[in-house]
Symmetry: C2
Subunit: 266 residues, 2 copies
């Protein structure tokens, strides 16, 4: 674990990351000493920092810290947080605040292989995501909606989140895709939700193999009628969905093809 | 400063307060060794913890910590944070997590007396608050909306926040009240916003002196047409509003009467 460029696992109680959730993060899979898709994660980190007006630490600086960690922890899940730094007084950020980079290293999760071969189960969350276009898509530290949703969705492998209008947005810790008549469809994240690195990679690959890719409003009915449904994130890669409430899916053809192409995720 | 029952100003980077903003807080004014309205603040803290399923530390425990701080810092602003505690894995809270109480002590702000006598200036924020009924009213640590709003509203003493429907909700760090034909009106906070201790005290006092008090949807037009507008929080107490964009107010009669009755705030 590293905080502010040094070894350590403690942060100031005056850091705006704690006080306001004023920061962003990414979760990376590290396998055999390689941080998978680190440049893509950094791009997202930089994008999200910019959206909040936080100065993102240099790629070279973070990469140097990362390299040090990889030598010690070659197989793990890494979390990189960038907060806006120490608070002065009140909500308004100081223009000269220095961001705080934080690295944490977590054990690899031990997901059963059945989630890939037989598919994962989904549960519909009661909590509906609120709309906030200024924060939508950003992986920021204001994650209480995910916490409350995950707390209620313990009967399945993942919880499915709708927004206040009833549209499908994402899983509590994943993005969601539909395959329908050969097209790949994923919800637009301009009003709420988090845009994952793996989501981008899946869309890129689908386009490259000639699939039609649609990013737009997706209703729950459309999801239930889809030929395939799958989930993605940077740790588990891609899970086909076998069940949502009463609906069962058994066709994972496109999902498993995309999963194989992505490679490198557990 | 105290963290987890001991002196200190550092918290674990695995605390859910940092990772997810998974916690609540209150800000107290401390004057001449007294923490003003501490029992009311504790009630709110307990209410907000319950709303998130966090076990609130005992009143006796927190009061004992507070007493120790009061002896050392008799005139200050105190912040009490209660997070859900250390993370296990992922968003779902562990049922046996132990909350982390955090106390911070900040210098008293040096607000000019003119904000009381001549009134404060308000600026309309571009950012609109999103609706999330599950989090509305709670003073939780997911405060990025306030951060972005405060960042843009630097031309006045306080920023006025509307919701996505254009209704008036609150200031970036205060609650807002209207006085209209002798009635006291304040926005309902069931979809967004933070319910302050001072807001409750003002409503209580207004009822006691026989005013009609209305808690409901408030449009911007209604605010602009009000006889008086004022702001409240636990640090500055109550500020009459002298200006919002082109609209000027000069009548502060009800506001200053309520302010005098509240007592004890700077």
């Amino acid at each position: 674990m590293r905080v502010n460029g040094e070894s350590g696992n403690l942060i100031s109680i005056r850091d705006r990351g704690l006080l306001y959730g004023d920061g962003v993060f990414r979760t990376l899979l590290v396998s055999e000493g390689q941080a998978l898709h680190w440049p893509l994660h950094y791009q997202k980190l930089q994008h999200d920092c910019a959206a909040l007006g936080i100065t993102c630490p240099d790629f070279a600086c973070l990469s140097a810290e990362l390299a040090g960690l990889l030598a010690e922890h070659p197989d793990a899940v890494y979390k990189i947080i960038v907060t806006r730094g120490l608070a002065q007084r009140g909500y308004a950020p100081s223009p000269d605040s220095t961001p705080t980079p934080v690295w944490d290293v977590l054990p690899l999760p031990d997901y059963p292989a059945s989630r890939i071969l037989q598919g994962a189960t989904l549960q519909l969350c009661q909590l509906r995501l609120g709309h906030q276009p200024r924060l939508a898509g950003i992986k920021h530290l204001n994650r209480l909606e995910n916490v409350l949703a995950a707390a209620e969705c313990t009967a399945a492998d993942e919880g499915l989140l709708l927004d206040s209008l009833g549209n499908v947005i994402e899983g509590t810790r994943s993005n969601v895709f539909l395959v329908s008549r050969g097209r790949l469809i994923t919800p637009a994240l301009n009003l709420c939700g988090v845009a994952g690195v793996q989501r981008d990679r899946i869309m890129d690959y689908a386009l490259r193999i000639g699939m039609v890719v649609e990013v737009r409003e997706v209703g729950l009915d459309e999801l239930l009628a889809a030929d395939e449904v799958f989930l993605s994130n940077s740790v588990f890669g891609l899970w086909p969905v076998a069940r949502l409430e009463q609906r069962r899916w058994t066709d994972f053809k496109v999902a498993l093809r995309l999963r194989a192409a992505l490679g490198g995720a557990s």
